[in-house]
């Protein structure tokens, strides 16, 4: 299931040639002030959007970005070019955003039971569901975008974050488990429940001629 997403369209916006990237990394390793300014200008908006997706809070997102850039500055000597600079920065800002998110984690947990019962096998055939329209076409409509994002936001935080990390930011299940300091098995179970809960909320969009 690979296609254009907000996350990878964002990523494409920061694309640079391997030679440019190598030159930037070398300059950063030499501690050049101008290189750091270039880094912040080139990746700042991208990382800020990633942090916003994780934290849903402008202040926390800003602090996460700042932390990620300072970590980059301090750790650039150890950076090995096995992964792209963008991938490394992405991971740094997600980790920083997750730490911020933990610091302000919600006071009261919302139960997911109303959105998706744990055992949900009371299924029926759904002849009126229609998926002939492409995802891109459907997602291009403002009403659909709004409905999907509102539905994601309604998920309890510990489920929402799995949709963000796994389905939007594109980390695999093992990486998500590491980030959240949880087991892969737990992540899979909660991810399935999060997707099921989201699906339930979005079912009106799946009926033919819904929007």
């Amino acid at each position: 299931m690979e296609y254009a997403t907000a996350a990878n369209m964002d990523a494409a916006a920061t694309h640079e040639s391997p030679a440019e990237e190598a030159a930037l990394i070398a300059a950063l390793k030499r501690g050049e002030d101008a290189a750091f300014v270039t880094l912040v200008q080139r990746y700042g908006d991208y990382l800020y959007r990633v942090a916003l997706r994780v934290t849903r809070n402008e202040t926390e997102a800003g602090e996460a970005v700042q932390e990620a850039f300072i970590s980059t500055f301090r750790g650039i000597a150890r950076f090995e070019s096995r992964s792209a600079l963008r991938t490394w920065l992405h991971r740094l800002v997600v980790n920083a955003a997750l730490m911020r998110r933990r610091a302000v984690e919600r006071k009261a947990e919302v139960s997911i039971e109303d959105l998706a019962p744990e055992v949900d096998l009371e299924r029926e055939p759904q002849p009126e569901w229609n998926f002939t329209e492409s995802v891109e076409t459907q997602a291009a409509r403002d009403g659909v975008r709004r409905a999907v994002n509102e539905a994601i936001d309604r998920l309890p935080e510990q489920y929402r974050i799995l949709i963000v990390l796994r389905d939007i930011e594109g980390y695999d299940t093992r990486e998500v488990a590491q980030m959240l300091d949880d087991t892969e098995g737990n992540v899979k179970v909660r991810l399935h429940r999060a997707r099921t809960a989201l699906k339930r909320q979005l079912e009106p969009l799946y009926r033919a001629k819904a929007i």
Partner: protein
């Protein structure tokens, strides 16, 4: 779904499961994450797909589940530039200033 239909469905699955080793809906449900990530063993994948061929309910469920994942990805906000939010200029200045005051690379 009325009671008779449920009983009929239950019996049908168990007969097929016993005679053909087909997964139940509950078992198929547990494999959905791995199925979409191509992480099922070939034998389990085949049983999962067999189940879908025989269970319109799970087939419809999976279609909507897959579309849900796809829509979450495609609709993620903030949108990509130039429409999406940008880092506030003051924050950019603060980061550059903070770096000047931070310890140098080790």
């Amino acid at each position: 779904m009325n009671v008779l239909a449920r009983i009929q469905r239950f019996l049908t699955y168990w007969v097929i499961k016993v005679t053909h080793g087909m997964l139940t809906c509950g078992e198929a449900d547990r494999f959905m994450v791995d199925y979409l990530e191509y992480r099922l063993d070939p034998e389990v994948r085949e049983r999962f797909e067999n189940h879908l061929e025989n269970c319109i309910c799970c087939k419809d469920f999976l279609a909507a589940y897959r579309r849900t994942v796809e829509l979450a990805r495609a609709c993620a906000e903030p949108a990509a530039p130039p429409a999406g939010p940008r880092m506030p200029p003051a924050l950019m200045e603060a980061i550059i200033a903070a770096r000047r005051g931070a310890a140098p690379p080790s």
